[in-house]
């Protein structure tokens, strides 16, 4: 995977409709990198038979 850097963060932020102040860029890049690595741990799991914990309830309440 491409390492997350400031330029990438600015690009993705535009796609998310987000204006990130310059002072946040480096901290955010590190945080995104960390989050991607954490998510990779979950990617290897077999979850096809598992219902997400938030499921749609069509009842009128």
């Amino acid at each position: 995977l491409q390492p997350v850097n400031g330029e990438l963060i600015k690009h993705v932020a535009v796609l998310a409709g987000l204006v990130v102040p310059d002072e946040d860029i480096d901290l955010l890049a590190g945080a995104v990198q960390n989050q991607i690595e954490a998510a990779e741990v979950l990617l290897v799991l077999e979850l096809d038979d598992i219902e997400p914990i938030v499921s749609f309830d069509p009842r009128w309440r």
């Binding site: 002072e23 946040d24 901290l27 955010l28 945080a31 960390n34 954490a38 997400p52």
Partner: protein, 476 residues
Amino acid sequence: MAMTDLCWLSIDEASSLLRSGDTSSVELTHAVLDRIDATDPSVHAYAGVMRETAIESAEHADAELAARSRRSALHGIPVAVKDLCFTAGFPTEAGSRVLKGFIPSYNAVVVDKLCQAGAVIVGKTVTHEFAYGQDVPPTRNAWDQACYPGGSSAGSAVAVAVGSAFGAIGTDTGGSIRVPASVNGIVGLKPTHGRVSRHGVFPMSPTLDTVGPLTRTVKDCALMLGAIAGPSGPHDLWALNEPVPSYTAQLGRRLDGVTIGVDRRYFFYDAVSGDVRNRVDEALAVLRSLGGAIVEVAIEELDLSVSAGMSVLLGDTSEWHQRLLRYVGDAYVRETRVMLELGELVPATAYVRSQRVRRVVQQALRRTFDEKGLDALAAPTLPVTSMPVEQLSVDLTGGGETALSAFIHHCFLANVVGIPSISIPVGFSRATLPIGMQLFGRPFGEPALFRIGHAYQGETEWHTQHPNLTAASALT
């Protein structure tokens, strides 16, 4: 009785004195307000004090009690509420410049329920900005004012610990009731998700957030939960409509027939300090001496709980703040803002996958509780005691372990799977900083946690020790 002595009564004891006419709610309220004046310049537990309305409520409570119209054990008892909870006509700022001057037009359900129970609300307690835990508020630890007070319900825990409230309300999305309870030497309960209504409480995550009590004794915690549990009515979708039992009915001195699991691999890992390890093992020995069975368990899926929970926490919190971030982003503390920016960049696929993983962890935990016949799972509330504020790292944006990430490692499980967890004081470190043990229960298994915690407090005296604030003040 001296005014300061009144402040150290438990809710249960104060309630008995009110019932017998040996004190009044006005007297208790004045004692607490005086205590706030004496302690808050040092510990900064309160964001705002409601002097006039508190005295009015106390006078009203005294009139009702005199007419033998007692509403509950909380009737006439002064309590505090975290400044994340709406209070009609009184500022609710969630520890943020973003909400400077915001005055709600209605009460949170939990505030209404306290009022209906006859409690006297004396003030709003300090929280980290929107409960995210990324800033360090002015609140200081009750036992050492150089030290971190925990978060995000820091003000609520410190107020209870220093005697400037008999009990307080906090919120817990990843440990925010249990962490400050542990480092300030008091009891804190994160209830089952949906046990207490979240309506009128600034949210982080609809599936992780909980509202719960902080007190000095387990029995007080049970009394407070009894007052605030359940929805406000059939249209309150912010709480589950489950029956509210008597939370004090099972309290006793023995634990015969009670089984408590311990997962040493996950909760006693290398970073757990020797003091914490020793105090929790001593507490387990006390539980065993009371008739409880302690069994070793191994739940590998616990390793997934933090990774799964963080994607959900990030996405949910950022969704709520989405417009504020764009319009008044510069009003947030920088570290909070970066977490909100981070949450905007979590892919939807990662979010949904995390929701599946939460189910995996939930099923594994249920399987272990059922196969081992567990009533609770015991663990250190935190791997370490509090630390000086200048040594504190609450950064969640990096890859390494910080104080906050270590706290989350121990606490997040209860939020990720929605189960109750109570932190009770089990002693002190060599540096005389409090240590807590937490007990995780089955969904709506709060009565079992209260039973275990109350029996423990019947055999020990940690909960009767109070910080010497005069000595602590000398540190500043």
